[in-house]
């Protein structure tokens, strides 16, 4: 398929140029690939292009799913076609300024203690750090939200400090509790529901990352910035009770 290049509109961001590739994904979706790596500049370009397509309200576009390095544009083949979208998105990628990427900053309380942190000691052992150092390093970084996927509201965030990077567990757990704060490779995440999972569990947050009582229900969106704050078990239990009662609202500040 036709390829084109995509230059980020915003001056503050790097003037990186990404080569767009349109990959066929059947007759109800079109993959628009900008790269094949996990990096923030690429993620910013993905978010920017998603905003441009969204803003253009192209006929027949049903929804747009941004990922680390591509967009999946779901469409209605009774209204439009992959050929028409390829042309329209090619034009959008070149024209005008980029969409607004108003990333928000979040500070997430998490408890890194006892049964809430079942893999903390093993992570410490394998990284050659003390458990306290693992916590210190995990809470020191500000993570970029690359994408949501796997589970409703599940955020893939990075980048994890090099010192904490481990491959996924050899065999995934059948049940990872909801709220688990997890790490693997260069990423960190929060399991939004109980599910199978293969990442290392180093803590638990009482914050609901997906809540149908909210609009939108997902706490985060790609482009947001997240840091974790270690809290005691007592604080965790108190916050969990407040969250359960609907009496807790997490404050944010818009990223500079």
């Amino acid at each position: 398929m036709e390829n084109s290049t995509f230059t980020m509109g915003s001056k503050e961001q790097n003037q990186a140029t990404w080569k767009l590739r349109f990959l066929p994904s059947g007759d109800t979706a079109l993959t628009v690939e900008l790269g094949e790596t996990v990096e923030r500049r690429l993620s910013a370009a993905v978010v920017d292009l998603a905003a441009r397509i969204d803003g253009a309200a192209l006929a027949g576009v049903v929804e747009i799913v941004p990922t680390f390095r591509s967009l999946l544009v779901h469409y209605d083949p009774l209204v439009t076609s992959a050929a028409a979208l390829t042309e329209q998105i090619g034009v959008l990628s070149k024209a005008g300024t980029g969409g607004q990427t108003d990333g928000r900053k979040w500070r997430i309380p998490a408890c890194y203690e006892g049964d809430l942190a079942p893999d903390l000691d093993e992570v410490a052992e394998r990284t050659g750090l003390s458990p306290a150092q693992v916590i210190e390093q995990h809470t020191a970084a500000a993570y970029h939200v690359y994408m949501l996927g796997f589970l409703p509201g599940y955020p893939y965030m990075g980048d994890l400090p090099d010192s904490l990077q481990l491959p996924r567990r050899k065999s995934p757990r059948v049940r990872v509790p909801a709220g688990s704060v997890a790490i693997a490779t260069g990423l960190t995440a929060v399991y939004t529901y109980e599910s199978p999972g293969g990442w290392h569990l180093i803590g638990r947050t009482p914050i609901l990352f997906f809540d149908l009582r909210r609009d939108p229900p997902a706490l985060l969106r790609p482009g947001d910035s997240v840091s974790f704050e270690a809290v005691s078990r007592e604080t965790y239990d108190r916050l969990a009770a407040e969250v359960a009662n609907g009496n807790f609202e997490l404050a944010t500040e818009t990223a500079a």
Binding site: S25, F150, A184, Y193, S195, A218
Partner: protein
């Protein structure tokens, strides 16, 4: 007591499904919805519902229900409706029937399809969650309490009574069987496989394994060899995408599939053939054929015209179209029933 269908026996994986929860995949929310949207639309037509109205979907064996309201009109796809009591009656698929208070009825074993449907005139009085009544059981979203039905549940009905009218049937019901070859569009990652693997994928026969659920079908057959490893940086998944994990055995992603994933996708089943794939049962054999995206889009338009034609061709149900059978109570439960466990959840972070 408010209008309801009471669940006497829940059947297997009986859930509320409509045409899916569209618009929230960017948040990681799967679309869900009917495995066989063609059947859903056609049974809805028989009871004067909008095509997208939620119905009950069941796998292999439907529920036994009791009418706890004045009257209700229903129609089934891929399954008979067995009206219990004296005299017992059997209503074939694709035909409407009005049932009165106290009547018990059973949806039998599905015929030619893993999934069956029961459309209810006026629909169910359930909350719409993110724009849909579809059940996504893994996250307990939508439908009846986010889960499959259980015995003693009471499904609230939107309409307390059904007016008498001539019952109808489709004069041209759809065929259950899959086409000779399921049509696919190669990509988005067909270049991540050896040429021999792509050739094998399009030439050889595959069998649906027992690892099959609403999330996807794992296929048995020749292993497909990756040319650049089996992990990709996660990207979006379209319904019908055929992803190939490290084992080399492809998985066709169905209604409940994750929105994103990290295995290469060799091809995507075209939307016109997806309902037939949704009907496949373990042990069924399939082959694939590649078409262009434009051909796939044209096939979808043709399918839409076909559905509309069938939905319009509704005729009065003939007298005697109800079958009285001595063997009514001889149930024919399918053996080797698949469990609804997370058998396909190996692509987990």
């Amino acid at each position: 007591m408010s209008a309801a269908l009471s669940v006497i026996a829940p059947g297997i994986q009986t859930t509320v499904q409509d045409l899916g929860r569209v618009g929230y995949q960017a948040l990681g929310v799967p679309v869900a919805g009917a495995l066989d949207p063609v059947a859903l639309r056609l049974v809805n037509a028989l009871v004067d519902n909008e095509p997208a109205m939620a119905a009950l979907e069941f796998l292999y064996q439907g529920p036994t229900l009791q009418v706890n309201t004045h009257s209700v009109r229903v129609a089934a796809a891929w399954s008979d409706i067995e009206v219990l009591g004296e005299p017992a009656r059997r209503i074939p698929p694709w035909q409407s029937i009005r049932l009165t208070e106290g009547t018990r009825f059973r949806l039998g074993a599905t015929q030619g399809s893993v999934c069956g449907y029961l459309a209810i005139q006026g629909g169910l009085a359930l909350a719409s969650v993110l724009g849909s009544q579809s059940t996504y059981t893994r996250s307990r979203i939508g439908g009846f309490e986010g889960r499959a039905l259980g015995a003693q549940d009471a499904l609230p009905l939107a309409q307390p009574a059904a007016e008498t009218r001539t019952e109808v049937r489709l004069s041209a019901p759809p065929d259950a069987g899959p086409p000779d070859r399921i049509r696919v569009v190669l990509g988005p990652q067909d270049t991540h496989f050896t040429e021999a693997a792509v050739a094998s994928f399009l030439a050889d026969s595959f069998v649906v394994s027992k690892d099959a659920d609403r999330m996807g079908l794992r296929l048995e057959g020749p292993a497909l060899t990756h040319s650049q490893g089996y992990n990709i940086v996660s990207d979006g998944i379209a319904t019908g995408a055929i992803q190939v994990p490290g084992s080399g055995h492809p998985i066709v992603m169905l209604a409940d599939h994750q929105t994103t994933g990290g295995y290469p996708k060799i091809a995507t089943v075209i939307s016109a053939d997806l309902p037939a794939v949704g009907r496949l049962r373990p042990g069924d054999s399939i082959r694939f054929r590649a078409v262009s995206t434009a051909e796939a889009e044209a096939a979808r338009r043709a399918l839409e015209a076909d559905i509309e034609r069938r939905a319009r061709n509704v005729v009065p149900a003939a007298e005697g179209s109800e079958l009285n059978e001595a063997a009514l109570y001889a149930t024919n439960l399918v053996s080797g029933i698949v469990s609804a466990t997370d058998c396909l959840s190996d692509d987990v972070p």
